[in-house]
């Protein structure tokens, strides 16, 4: 697949959707797209993926452990194909991610997906990040040296 700006946008969308809570996807889906014609191209299934790790930037690759991942592939009645991967075993959540991935490719729906689905998730995630950063910053200790002996002469 060529690396284009639409690939980057889709990658960003899928990264956000993978971190969404169930209600963040289920609520807008029920509200804005209640009668969506969707069918599963492959049965949604959960399985294991091997996570690979590396100690430091240049250590040797090793297998860190396995994670449970659920995958869904759907097709809208207008032909767009969406892929959803989420951690865990929530089949419905994986399917919702796939549906929004497909809707994001549909000309008429992509702005709505951005405004009603992706933007709230991005806002929540950046607020959580800011909160963690603030909590960490509160415990910060700054060391500084007033005068060092050898400089005093």
């Amino acid at each position: 697949m060529p690396e284009t700006s639409s690939t980057d946008a889709r990658r960003r969308a899928l990264a956000l959707l993978a971190r969404a809570t169930a209600s963040e996807l289920a609520a807008p889906l029920a509200e804005h797209w209640p009668d969506l014609g969707v069918r599963e191209l492959k049965p949604t299934e959960s399985g294991l993926v091997m996570l690979r790790g590396r100690a430091g930037g240049d250590g040797a690759l090793f297998n860190l452990g396995e994670a449970t991942v659920t995958r869904s592939i759907v097709e809208l009645e207008t032909g767009e194909r969406g892929y959803g991967h989420v951690l865990g075993r929530d089949l419905k959540q994986a399917m919702r991610v796939a549906i929004f991935d497909a809707l994001g490719q549909r000309e008429g729906d992509c702005a709505m997906v951005e405004a009603r689905v992706l933007a709230p998730i991005a806002a929540r995630l950046s607020a959580a990040r800011a909160r963690t950063a603030a909590e960490t910053a509160a415990t910060r200790v700054d060391f500084f040296t007033l005068v060092r002996g050898e400089d005093a002469a």
């Binding site: 069918r39 191209l41 492959k42 049965p43 299934e45």
Partner: protein, 195 residues
Amino acid sequence: MSALGFADPVLQSQATFRAILNALSRPGTLVDAGAGLEPPAPLGAAAAAALLALADYETPLWISPAFATGDVAAWVKFHTGAPSAASPKTAVFALIDLAADRLDLAAFAEGSAEYPDRSTTLIAQVASLSTAGPLRLFGPGVRGEAAFGFTPCPSDFTAQWRANGEGFPLGVDLILAAGGRLAALPRSARLHGDI
């Protein structure tokens, strides 16, 4: 709309695998495969089921020119994840349509003396299969001899199959599929007039 694969991938691929094993161990018998499957034309249900059950991301697949156009190649790639083989010699599985493609068994991988299993398994789609002849099979898995036939059958099929059998234990295995049924000729199967 894209065509679907197996509705229940685990059970249906196991059932198809079992059917193919039965067909390979009893050359010349017809078994059912691919019930309920609706692959894109011109691919038939049994040939499609065999591909779904056998091919995966580790098995390079060679698709003949007759199937390379249209939706078949994309459908097989989507549902099996099999990479496409650069040439018939490097293919683990090959899909051909005997109604349109010329059969050349020698073009496919026959395995090596150390690993005779590394040969191509050919999945050939034909118009019809029959247990009435004109070919007469014998060899492992056949009691006495068995009448077997398929159409369209290349005129030099007997000669090609004899050449395939002369390299035993090397050689290709052939799965013949018509509609929802398939039969198989393992490399050990012999045709009368052979030897």
